[in-house]
Symmetry: C2
DNA sequence: TTGTAGGCGTTATCAT
DNA sequence: ATGATAACGCCTACAA
């Protein structure tokens, strides 16, 4: 059905191409038409393609009357230049690739919303690709970004901090700037902005210590560099405040209910635990659910802290105390660094962002 | 810093362009290089560009030995053809534009994750643009999609069901298929998949009626066609089960706390309300918070139902009963219809999806 | 089986 | 101020 229509269009266009007057006619009658080219506009306006191009690009070297005439034609026929063709000659696609494991991760969703808007205002489009946790898929995406000749790429999350990705960047994307949000790779074209989760979690331990909590555990989902930093901060905190050399690290990944079950199992085995730090807000939410199902009162019996300070903290009941790793600052830094590099300005290769605790009802 | 490096590259390339042997040398030493062209690969392989093109496109008309040789060169120099140039000649960008108000809306985040992955498997890339609620911004995005010559577009959410957008589509995007998720526009190239929220909310009213609830209210955030359908279903239900002709509709938009406040105000004024249906899960979560702050027990004193059945329903405490509007089915239908249209198959212009209630603790 | 030439829709360079 | 012409990197008749 759609295609049938298209045949008509193609026919109409063939017809149109040789008679200027026909343009008007077809347009008035509202027949759909293929995208026009700069040559067609030029012909209608009675000028050359270069003149139209000059008008399009606001060149000062166009007589005002000519400009006006051309603009009228452009407007009348809804002409807009093909960015594809432009990209070819300009050697710049004006596109930025954004890779992320999963748009459902709330703070990533927030980040792409922000980053995309800022870049859009600068005339860039975003090619968003969700890779999952699969390494091969990530490499494939990097190849695609190369084929699409994106002007830059943003990798969201420390889980992109992999040797295989480093190699792929060297191989495919060594000439465009790459920003890693919350990660870094030692490569001339890679820029990293890292959240100081080490000290953040250290502070979380201190908070729980000061609240008089006796026995803490850290619950992580996946083994990422970011989580390793959190765990390191936890270990340092346990050492410093509790003189404990073998901090309790629990792994609870998977979907919500799966995570619930794992937390539940752990708490059953360790009834003396009275403080939990979760690697992620949503994981903490699953933990809260598990505690509630076990009739463990929060924060009376157990204190809970999440990380990210996403909207989830407020949806939780009791509302979740969380380490704010400043994901908005992170996004802003990503955009600023990206734009700076694209404009050829000098940019810090690797920087760190402070984090801070936002206390709510679970502590 | 980055640019300085680039000058070296450009110099290296200039040098390379005229000596085949140099290619090897530069590559072994690992110097970054500009993307190669099909001509350069052809020269190195000692064949013509068309032969390389044939290999690239798996044409059968290539001698096996030649193919092998060419593939080796391609592999050795990490050559990959420019999709930009391909798009120009093929008149197809292999890109799909995805417009959505805000990636932070959970079920939209889920949808783009799904849609993007499926389309990626079909060789398409997704240009994701978040438009907010601003009409002008949406029109601007449609123009951009036209400039980028996307092969199709997906508009997420009924809020795209606007006359201005209909006009813009006629003007700029009349030749590519456009799928609206949960909305429709009467245009030859627009396809709609709509969630049957009318009957869904009608069922919600029935559920609350059967639970013995006496006085209901519907709380909506924004005035979208989707919410209007929900409200219509609510009104029909109130008529049918409660013989009430003036159903109570409350507007509570804005951020989480703002929504909380508005629900709070309303409940203060109407203490006899014992059943609330919210237009969205997150809004319901804000409602639950308000009720809790007012010491109103859920579901003992008031029953609460959300809509969408996102992960939020499980994060809530008590867990949220919700109308599942089958957003995964919706996404699947969007992808399937999109692919069908792109392949020239016949596709239903407008279809409806059933919704169903998932009962949890708030009712 | 392979190569040559022309074109996709722009912009840039050089004339005029 | 304007126009002709040659790129940009690829694909595809058509010719050999």
């Amino acid at each position: 059905m759609f295609l049938d229509n298209n045949y008509d269009i193609i026919f109409a266009i063939e017809f149109i191409k040789f008679t200027c007057l026909e343009y008007e006619f077809k347009c008035e009658t509202g027949i759909m038409m293929q995208n026009m080219t700069i040559y067609e506009i030029a012909k209608i306006a009675g000028v050359s393609a270069s003149t139209v191009s000059r008008v399009l690009n606001n060149s000062p070297n166009v007589k005002e009357a000519t400009r006006k005439l051309v603009l009228e034609c452009i407007d009348k026929y809804h002409y807009s230049p093909s960015e594809t063709a432009r990209g070819l000659i300009k050697q710049s696609s004006k596109m930025v690739g954004i890779l992320l494991p999963d748009a459902r991760i709330m703070h990533h969703a927030e980040s792409i919303t922000f980053i995309q808007r800022e870049l859009s205002a600068m005339g860039y489009c975003c090619l968003v690709m969700t890779t999952g946790r699969d390494e091969q898929e990530r490499l494939r995406c990097l190849e695609i970004l190369n084929q699409r000749r994106v002007d830059a790429a943003v990798l969201m999350g420390s889980s992109f901090q992999l040797d295989s990705i480093k190699n792929a960047i060297e191989k495919y994307l060594s000439q465009i700037p790459i920003i890693i949000a919350n990660g870094y790779l030692e490569l001339p074209n890679v820029y990293g902005i890292i959240s100081d989760e080490y000290n953040g979690v250290l502070e979380c331990v201190r908070l729980l210590f000061e609240k008089g909590r006796k026995k803490l555990a850290f619950i992580a989902d996946y083994d990422t560099p970011s989580n390793q930093r959190k765990i390191a901060g936890f270990s340092a905190g346990m050492e410093k405040y509790y003189r404990e050399h073998t901090p309790l690290i629990i792994w609870a990944n998977g979907e919500f209910h799966e995570a619930c079950r794992k937390v539940s199992e752990f708490m059953q085995k360790s009834p003396n635990i009275d403080g939990l730090i979760f690697a992620e807000d949503q994981l903490a939410a699953a933990g809260l659910r598990a505690l509630r199902d076990m009739q463990i009162s929060v924060p009376d019996q157990v204190s809970v802290i999440g990380i990210n300070n996403s909207i989830i903290t407020q949806i939780c009941n009791p509302s979740l105390t969380a380490l704010d790793n400043m994901s908005m600052d992170m996004s802003a830094a990503v955009v600023n660094n990206l734009i700076a590099v694209l404009q050829g300005r000098c940019v810090v290769k690797k920087m760190s962002l402070y984090s801070r605790i936002v206390e709510r009802e679970t502590t």
